[in-house]
Amino acid sequence: MEKRVLFRSGWLPWLLIAPQMAVILVFFFWPASQAILQSLQAEDAFGTSVTFVGLENFKTLFGDPAYVESFKVTAIFSVLVAGIGIALSLMLAIFADRMMRGALVYKTFLIIPYAVAPAIAGVLWVFMFSPSIGVVSYFLRHLGFDWNHLLNSNHALTLIVVAAVWKQISYNFLFFLAGLQSIPKALIEAAAIDGAGPLRRFFTIQFPLLSPTTFFLLVINVVYAFFDTFAIVHATTEGGPGRDTAILVYKVWHDGFKALDLGGSAAQSVVLMAIVVALTVIQFRYVEKKVQY
């Protein structure tokens, strides 16, 4: 996509991109290349003894069942977070879109979680579900449901999924609402005249027309589930029980920060970067030929 008429100037565009280039070169490319370099080395925590080991770290990584497992967990987790988050917020948006009165009040309440820091969201949820003082776990127990995310993997996964979805629901909701409101009203009316009821209209008209929004949110949510949920996992399950909630970013952090295995951690970073760059490229491909209406 390009503009019909472009400005011509030898130096101005360079001047304009200079600040951004400076920032990303210094704080992105340089550190990223360091990370790549580090992923090819074995070193002690303090960096006082460094040896080049080639792809050794990667070999260890992919040979490590824990890492492969972490991939699996991350995949399940991301699918759940993106899927449930998108579905729930879409549902809320659909109903909010129907409302003419009270919509603002609903909207305002629904978007507040967006303002909560993930680190604090984790605190809130652990506070609610803590086996000793959590209100929710107390009531669950009372209902005869023995909540124990410390030992039950499903509970643990549920907990981080719920917390992560909760944190992201507002963001999705806002986008869906806007997307729904930008669908021309006449289309809905045409469908109504064609005999489609609300449900049918949703599935055959609104949802397909939301697909650019949905796709955009899908990418955003996957990236969110990959990275921004770290603080939630850190605060709630710490990857347990076992390694059943140790998602990739938690593992990077754990191996690098807690365990001080810098080479291994750097190798994991490199893998993550590759995944995200791939996602970025896909996103661009799609955006460039997005559906127009």
């Binding site: 021309p184 006449a186 009316e189 005249i193 005999g195 055959t204 127009q292 209406y293």
Partner: protein, 335 residues
């Protein structure tokens, strides 16, 4: 039996103090198979009237019947109507075929029949080669035809059109007008067509409803509306250039308004003294814009008449059998 009956229909928007009445008791009977055009300036309530027929707006008071069924409380889908929207409202993610088939699919029409009906409509509208395209791959005129096709395949009791031509350019508009006429001749389905363009109204309608600020000023054939406008509003709205309406010209009694169409005025040796302001050439004829006293006047003259130029003073005579008289107070036709 009428195909559509309006019985003292009233429409109010808003509630309580914010109520805004936009339709003030419209009554009309539209015969089966008739092509009726609702015309009027922007905001006069044309779309509102149409949308009440479609069931997209509630009816505040009065009744609307389609066939012999009062539809006030019937859902749009059950009214047996089809509608063509101003922006066509094609489903952007569906192919032309799917767009046309959508209503039938919902109505659970068998696949074979859907195909047959869509193919037939596509043939009529010359859309056959476009069936697999998406709306965005079509030109404006083609989209228009698809919108019409979507209405046709439904074989409804009534067609509703809300300014379906206003997004087309002049040439395409004229052409599509002809197509709609042809279609109506072929299918014979009762049609209600909204437009604010009087040329469109005149060329398309069997009967015209002229709306003026929520009130139906006249309901008649194009000839009637053109030849015997019921109010000064109708007189001024229909015809291009519109009828000259004069209050102070020599020979007009106070309290009355004289209407005379441009084509019924001519350069003469006697008559009103007119200051020519400019002259417009329209292919085969010319329009002479001038002033009689403080009032504007337009004369339509053909090639055979002499051509004055801006600045000339000429004498203009009127055909005495073509004068219209209105009451200045009510605006109603006096004679």
């Amino acid at each position: 039996m009428s195909a559509i009956s309006f019985r003292n229909v009233i429409k109010r928007y808003g509630k309580g103090a914010k109520t805004n009445q936009v339709i003030h008791g419209v009554s009309a009977e539209i015969e089966a198979g008739e092509f009726v055009v609702i015309v009027g300036p922007s905001g006069c309530g044309k779309s509102t009237l149409l949308r009440m027929v479609a069931g997209l707006e509630e009816i505040s008071a009065g009744e609307i019947a389609i066939g012999n069924r009062v539809v006030n409380n019937i859902e749009p889908a059950q009214r047996d109507i089809a509608m063509v929207f101003q922006n066509y409202a094609l489903y952007p993610h569906m192919s032309v075929f799917q767009n046309m088939a959508y209503g039938l699919k919902i109505a659970k029409v068998p696949v074979d029949e859907i195909k047959a009906r869509v193919d037939k409509a596509a043939r009529i509208l010359e859309l056959g080669h476009l069936l697999e395209r998406k709306p965005r791959e079509l030109s404006g005129g083609q989209r228009q035809r698809v919108a019409m096709g979507r209405a046709i395949v439904r074989q409804p009791l009534v067609f509703l059109f809300d300014e379906p031509l206003s997004n087309l350019d002049a040439k395409l508009r004229a052409q599509t007008r002809l197509e709609i006429q042809k279609l109506h001749r072929e299918l014979g389905i009762t049609s209600l067509f909204v437009t604010h363009d009087q040329v469109e109204a005149m060329t398309l309608a069997q009967r015209i409803i002229v709306m003026n600020a929520g009130v139906m000023d006249q309901f008649g054939t194009p000839e009637e509306v053109y030849a015997r406008p019921a109010t000064t509003f109708v007189a001024g709205f229909i015809g291009s250039p519109p009828m000259n309406l004069l209050k102070h010209a020599p020979g007009v009694r106070p309290g009355t308004i004289l209407g005379i169409r441009p084509e019924h005025l001519m350069l003469d040796t006697d008559g009103w003294t007119v200051q020519v302001e400019y002259v417009e050439l329209l292919g085969a004829e010319r329009l002479i814009y001038g002033r009689v006293g403080d009032e504007q006047l337009v004369v339509r003259a053909d090639e055979s008449q002499p051509a004055p130029v801006a600045g000339d003073t000429v004498k203009i005579g009127a055909r005495q059998d073509k004068l219209h008289w209105f009451d200045a107070g009510s605006g109603k036709r006096a004679a």
